[in-house]
């Protein structure tokens, strides 16, 4: 070892600092799972292997919001709950196991790779429940958390409107105070799970202040004055809807937080769910499946095909590591800022590349030859649209990560 005094002093100083902090930090960056994390992943895989029906891959391609899958998810999530696998990352006092963000990540990866057998309930456990824990009244928590924790609830999010997609703060669905109630009129659109959801996390306008004039109402979907229409889509049966509110009346006790607090609450919710779905995991799994099929029929020998597959795998790995860098910071207790948009966009890049690879080299997958690949395609093509458009992520990166002056509006 020829390191001179400067290097030795730098290392020594770092080790003293660590000793002073009383922290145990690995001497190397660690890209391996701990035995506990690996055991958790294996437990999940075993659970999925023994719980999902034999025809699951064909069954799951109908989409996470299809009536069949929604009914299946009720049973499946109930079993998950009994096995303490539904809300392991929730606080112990609320019924969870208080596990760290890595367990949450592993759970999300394994479920998404399997085709998301939790259906729309993944939203409940990822961000709706934690938001209710933070902002809900004791009555709201008593009413809504037990069904979520038992795997029996299905929520939809009433966010987008015909004139308010990426520009969510321009929403116009209005809630007027009337006595002790709110009377809601307006329309939501592209609402996932609305057809079978029992509760809506609804954003309404209560004043003209652009962001501080938005309020959240927790609305039972059987409230008179709600009409739901399904919009046929290419991403699965029963996935997208428009929802109409005509003089729908709910009590003021349905309000989450204060009037005008929605933007702050949503920001908190997104911090809980900032990375979104671990799409890179399913994308990589689909890519490996596609390669396996091509190998079996002798079509994975051309160098051009192999190079394209490797490029897609590299983008999956880039997205995975960008996400893991954020999870590492969350696990350390750091507050995550807008840099998670970079990981989100990396995921969009990998989804696009994997979808393109399969469309080009296994086009029959989009017919009915390979249900798993078709299921991936239907979920993958919305990566740049759902939960905030890719271009919005780029805007955020430009302003808040690169520090560029904001564009003129």
């Amino acid at each position: 070892m020829r390191a001179t005094f400067k290097l030795a002093a730098a290392i020594s100083s770092a080790r003293c600092y660590r000793a002073g902090k009383g922290r145990v930090s690995p001497l190397r960056m660690d890209f391996d799972w701990t035995p506990d994390e690996q055991a958790f992943r294996e437990r999940l895989r075993h659970f999925l292997d023994t719980t999902l029906p034999g025809d699951w891959e064909r069954f799951s391609q109908h989409g996470p919001a299809s009536p069949d899958l929604t009914r299946f998810a009720q049973t499946f999530c109930g079993t998950l709950a009994k096995e303490d696998l539904l809300i392991p990352h929730w606080p112990v006092e609320i019924g969870g196991q208080g596990q760290d963000p890595w367990h949450q990540t592993i759970l999300a990866e394994e479920m998404w790779i399997a085709g998301e057998p939790r259906g729309g309930q993944y939203m409940n456990v990822n961000w709706i429940g934690p938001t209710l824990i933070r902002y809900g009244t004791p009555e709201q928590q008593a009413r809504y958390l037990p069904p979520i924790a038992a795997g029996k609830a299905l929520w939809c999010q009433g966010f987008s409107e015909p004139g308010s997609g990426s520009d969510l703060a321009s929403l116009r669905t209005r809630a007027e105070a009337d006595g002790g109630d709110y009377v809601v009129n307006g329309q939501k659109i592209w609402t996932s799970y609305a057809g079978l959801a029992d509760t809506c996390f609804l954003l309404c306008r209560t004043s003209e202040d652009r962001k501080r004039g938005i309020t959240i109402l927790l609305v039972p979907m059987d409230t008179p004055g709600i009409t739901v229409r399904q919009i046929p889509s290419i991403i699965g049966e029963g996935d997208i809807h428009e929802v109409f509110f005509d003089d729908m009346r709910v009590p003021a006790s349905a309000r989450l937080g204060e009037e005008g607090q929605a933007w702050e609450i949503i920001a908190y919710s997104l911090r809980n769910e900032r990375l979104g779905i671990p799409r890179y995991a399913l994308a990589r799994s689909a890519l490996d499946r596609a390669v396996s099929i091509l190998q079996e029929r002798g079509d994975f020998v051309r160098e051009a095909v192999r190079i394209e597959a490797a490029g897609a795998a590299a983008l999956c790995e880039a997205a995975r590591l960008a996400s893991y860098a954020i999870v590492t910071r969350r696990a350390e207790g750091e507050t995550i800022g807008q840099e998670s948009s970079s990981a989100r966009y990396a995921t969009v890049m990998c989804e696009r590349r994997v979808c393109e690879f399969i469309v080009e080299h296994l086009p029959e997958a989009l017919a009915d030859a390979h249900p798993y690949l078709k299921m991936h395609h239907q979920r993958g093509i919305v990566a740049g649209i759902a939960a905030g458009a890719a271009e919005i992520q780029l805007n955020i990166i430009a302003s808040d990560v690169l520090g560029l002056p904001r564009e003129a509006r």
């Binding site: 070892m1 020829r2 390191a3 001179t4 400067k6 290097l7 730098a10 290392i11 770092a14 080790r15 600092y17 660590r18 922290r23 690995p26 001497l27 190397r28 960056m29 660690d30 890209f31 391996d32 890595w102 390669v291 190998q295 994975f300 160098e303 192999r306 190079i307 490797a310 490029g311 795998a313 590299a314 983008l315 790995e317 880039a318 997205a319 590591l321 960008a322 893991y324 860098a325 999870v327 590492t328 910071r329 350390e332 970079s342 990981a343 966009y345 990396a346 271009e391 992520q393 780029l394 805007n395 990166i397 430009a398 690169l402 520090g403 560029l404 002056p405 904001r406 564009e407 003129a408």
Partner: protein
């Protein structure tokens, strides 16, 4: 799983920051296409940072951190190959170069008399010290590295105790770490320029057409960084090949934009951008280029 620098690595990066501070700006205008600083090279050699991989507690993972940080400087300094091969080479005073096969003539970065040249062949890995007669300096090269053509590979080379596959893995991890630093520096330089320059009555950085492409460059830079760090830490053939492919692909995707956004300014020697971009261009073709990196990744992952 810990996808973050540990305290040792942060301390080393901080110490490198202090060492590099006087050398953050290179002369422009009448300066040559290659920025070299004998003072910095000397300070770096004395610091011992290029030998971090010799410490088993630090390993090549920390070599990756060092290489990435040094690549951000406008000065071209041979660090990557040296840092990743230091535990295998013993005492080496000059720059370390790496070539695949014995084909000559060929353009080699940092080649000079006294340089250690590692030769990776199918049957093994060897090295020799380059003599004056074995090279021709390429002073007209556009690349921002000191370049020379290797004219002859010595017979009777010393054997390096490493397999050809392991040598390529180290070289790919080193390349990815260097690209990560170069991309980060070039991106920062372009962002600074666009945040200052006004056209059509607005800062250029307020135009969405430019912002989105810069943001995508940030996403790529971040991805290359973590893939390089992982490859450096694991020395896994698939990790290294994937990192090298993503590095070369991302360099290809961004270098054009970086120059485009600076307009004529980026074509002149008034701005330091070329110190990073014309090193990136050299690395795009290194180790067989993107095709070879992807093919190696496919072999490692799927046989």
């Amino acid at each position: 799983m810990q996808v973050a620098l540990n305290e040792d690595q942060r301390a080393i990066r901080d110490a490198l920051d202090a060492l590099a501070r006087p050398f953050e700006e290179a002369p422009v205008h009448e300066a040559p296409l290659v920025a070299a600083s004998p003072d910095f090279a000397r300070a770096l050699a004395e610091s011992g940072f290029l030998d971090v991989a010799c410490d088993p507690d630090l390993g090549t993972a920390t070599a990756g951190v060092v290489v990435e940080r040094l690549a951000r400087l406008p000065f071209a300094v041979e660090a990557a190959t040296r840092a990743f091969f230091a535990p295998l080479l013993g005492d080496v005073s000059g720059p370390v170069c790496l070539v695949e096969g014995t084909r000559t003539p060929r353009l080699v970065r940092f080649l000079e008399p006294g340089a250690c040249v590692i030769v990776v062949e199918a049957q093994g890995v060897s090295y020799f010290t380059a003599g004056e007669h074995q090279l021709r300096r390429e002073s007209e090269s556009l690349f921002a590295y000191p370049m020379a053509s290797l004219l002859d590979v010595s017979e009777g080379r010393a054997v390096l105790a490493i397999t050809p596959g392991e040598a390529r893995t180290r070289a790919r991890a080193a390349l990815a770490a260097e690209v990560a630093g170069l991309m980060a520096a070039a991106l920062a330089s372009v962002c600074a320029h666009l945040s200052e320059r006004t056209q059509f009555g607005r800062k250029l950085a307020t135009f969405q057409a430019l912002r989105h492409r810069l943001a995508e460059a940030q996403v790529r830079t971040n991805g290359v960084y973590w893939m390089a760090m992982k490859a450096a830490a694991t020395l896994d053939p698939a990790d290294a090949a994937l990192a090298a492919w993503h590095a070369q692909e991302s360099a290809t995707a961004t270098v054009y934009d970086f120059h485009q956004f600076l307009g004529a300014m980026g074509m002149t020697l008034e701005h330091p951008l070329h110190f990073w971009t014309y090193r990136l261009k050299a690395l795009i073709g290194e180790l067989g280029g993107r095709g070879a990196s992807a093919a190696a990744a496919a072999d490692a992952m799927w046989g």
